[in-house]
């Protein structure tokens, strides 16, 4: 089965992608309204928590972090999808990534924007958030650079800046196409964003170099970001957290949840934007195989963590582990193991991989497992720390759930706005893919591609994006 139909015409690619950005239909507005409603829930909960104190969010000793931080790690992990698909697969010349990397990159940026909200919400005193930034105050106090929490601020802001620029740079040739087809405010926006792109050889030459160099920076950066997030735990002495395998375990978990999210959005975009020509079953299969491989790496690292705790003979750590196995959080722990280590075996079966509804459900289950994983890292340790006096089982309340729920609405809203303003499939990269695939198939690369497409205006490819 082919990754893409190599006979598709270039004008058709422009037409299909630009069509996806046209005036939204009712379904889109319903999705936007749902996301706004979810955000409203979170805002109300946050105002309530802000006015009455963190205790109303059930954050109290010993449960100082809990699901805010678990969700923070979840969103940071989700952000690794774009890096994997864009940077790693770009460097190894896996061209099947081309139709799907754009939305994965957007996911990276929006996940980071969502993740960044949680430390702010979690500290309670929102007005002091800027203390974490590295600047000297008038009292001569600087942040403690030895703290992994300050490393987080550095790493995440670097990652957000770099991944947003990576997304933007990769979009410039497509923004020029949008500029040539738009009217009204859209035209002005695309003129500004396309930076005068004309597609001449000088621009392409420097563009390629820039994209490659940024990809090279992004890979170690992504690894460092989640390693640093894992240091928030691993560098403490809390039982269950002080584990040397945490950095690779976190990175594997991040890639895993990122891949699962790519499958979810792949299915949604394919269905709603009718991208069957670009988001093909063959590409879905490859994404599933990649996810399966990462799932197995994650499972292995999980088992290593259990084994090292078990054979480490640290009584408190062992107790935390046993509490995960059969304590009050055991149902969630075993659900995590089921979703994270058993469900992915469906990805190994060809029949399931090719069945889109099954893959959609599986991808949601995988990410449920990944969210539970983060919760099971944070909460059981806080519930069973060194001092028995501090042992306390805590269940998240309405305020916490509402804020977590709202974060999904926030992410969804950002993504919905993105897909209507920016091309969610890279037009120029798909053209490259088609061009090369024709060459590999032994077909004449110069034929077919440049023929006019029925119903598509010869000059600009589309009737025009309305922006008035």
């Amino acid at each position: 089965m082919k990754d893409i139909n190599e006979d598709i015409k270039w004008a058709q690619i422009n037409a299909d992608v630009l069509r996806s950005m046209e005036t939204p239909r009712l379904g889109y507005w319903i999705a936007v309204a749902t996301c706004v409603a979810m955000i409203a829930c979170a805002v109300v909960a946050e105002i309530y928590q802000y006015k009455h104190g963190m205790g109303y969010g059930l954050l109290n000793w010993p449960h100082m972090w809990d699901i805010y931080i678990a969700t923070f790690i979840f969103w940071i992990g989700m952000s690794h999808s774009g890096t994997l698909l864009s940077a790693i697969l770009h460097i190894i010349h896996a061209d099947w990534r081309k139709p799907i990397y754009r939305f994965a990159e957007a996911m990276t940026t929006f996940s980071l924007m969502t993740a960044g909200l949680f430390p702010i919400i979690h500290i309670g005193r929102l007005w002091n958030m800027y203390w974490v930034l590295p600047y000297v105050t008038d009292r001569g106090i600087w942040p403690n650079f030895r703290s992994p929490l300050v490393w987080d601020a550095f790493a995440i802001s670097t990652y957000l800046t770099s991944s947003a620029l990576f997304l933007y740079i990769g979009m410039i040739p497509d923004l020029a196409i949008c500029r040539d087809n738009a009217r009204g405010w859209r035209k002005k926006l695309y003129i500004a964003l396309s930076l005068g792109w004309r597609g001449d050889d000088r621009q392409w030459r420097n563009f390629r170099r820039t994209y490659l160099l940024m990809a090279c920076f992004l890979i170690p950066l992504a690894v460092s970001v989640h390693s640093i997030v894992s240091s928030d735990f691993a560098m403490s002495i809390m039982p269950g957290w002080h584990v040397t395998t945490f950095p690779p375990y976190f990175v594997a978990g991040a890639l895993y949840s990122g891949c699962a999210a790519i499958i979810t959005l792949f299915v949604l975009l394919r269905y709603f934007f009718r991208f069957e020509e670009y988001m093909t079953i063959a590409i879905l299969e490859k994404t599933c195989k990649l996810t399966f491989a990462i799932a197995m790496a994650w499972t292995y690292l999980n088992l290593i963590e259990f084994a090292s705790t078990w054979y480490g003979h640290d009584v408190a750590s062992k107790e935390v582990l046993l509490q995960k196995f059969y304590g009050p959080y055991a149902p969630f722990f075993w659900m995590m193991m089921f979703c994270g280590s058993v469900v992915p075996f469906t990805l190994a079966i060809r029949k399931f991989r090719r069945h889109i509804p099954t893959m959609f459900v599986v991808s949601l289950l995988l990410n449920l497992g990944m969210w539970l994983e983060r919760w099971m890292i944070v909460t059981p340790t806080l519930a069973n720390a060194y001092h028995p006096i501090a042992w306390d089982t805590m269940w998240p309340g309405m305020v916490q759930w509402a804020i977590v729920f709202g974060s999904f609405g926030w992410f969804g809203l950002l993504f919905l706005v993105f897909v209507k303003i920016f091309p969610s499939v890279s037009m120029y990269e798909v053209k490259e893919m088609v061009y090369h695939r024709r060459g590999h198939a032994g077909k004449d690369t110069e034929e077919v591609l440049h023929r006019p497409v029925e119903g598509v205006r010869a000059t600009t490819g589309r009737p025009g994006l309305e922006g008035a």
Binding site: W10, F166, R202, R205, Y435, T460
Partner: protein
């Protein structure tokens, strides 16, 4: 003598590159390869073989940015930590290398990326005023060959375009 910029639009790379080969072969007197540029919807993998190697200075910007980020990052942290001299350190070093290495690494990447972006904007001559000679068709499926030439080469160049099945010719007077 008048100077012109003309663009021929072709339906495929093969014909467009044949024009460049003919110019290389001296079929239009007074026209050199340096006067030729292309516009295309994708970057052709063999463009360097056709136009000759034209280096990109972007990696130099990247290296400069990475070195600057590393140096500035470490010095920034160290200078901040030096203000702690008045505070008790509890036996810990004033400038702790392990944690500073982590943050210096992040600064290296951040400035590497920012300088790479600056290098791209400068080297690709982005943000410059768009010349009048441009076609939206280049963004779809046509390949443009742009020539900068004088009055003497004007007609032979147009004839060359036509001999290779040019779809459309656009031109502007440069001066």
């Amino acid at each position: 003598m008048k100077k012109y910029r003309i663009m021929g639009l072709f339906s495929n790379f093969r014909e467009a590159f044949r024009v460049v080969e003919d110019i290389k072969g001296g079929k239009v007197s007074g026209l050199k390869l340096d006067d030729v540029s292309t516009m295309s919807p994708i970057e052709h993998p063999e463009i360097d073989e056709v136009l000759g190697a034209r280096p990109s200075p972007v990696p130099k910007f990247t290296l400069t940015g990475a070195l600057f980020g590393m140096t500035f990052g470490f010095l920034f942290l160290a200078s901040a930590q030096a203000t702690f001299l008045v505070q008790p350190q509890g036996g810990k070093p004033v400038i702790p290398l392990p944690s500073n290495i982590v943050l210096t690494y992040e600064m290296l990447i951040l400035f590497g990326v920012l300088f790479t972006l600056a290098g791209f904007l400068i080297s690709a001559r982005m943000l410059t005023k768009r010349p009048a000679i441009y076609s939206e068709k280049v963004g779809i499926d046509q390949i443009g060959i742009v020539l900068e030439l004088d009055e003497k080469s004007y007609e032979p160049a147009k004839a060359l375009f036509k001999s290779h099945g040019v779809l459309e010719i656009r031109e502007e007077v440069v001066k």
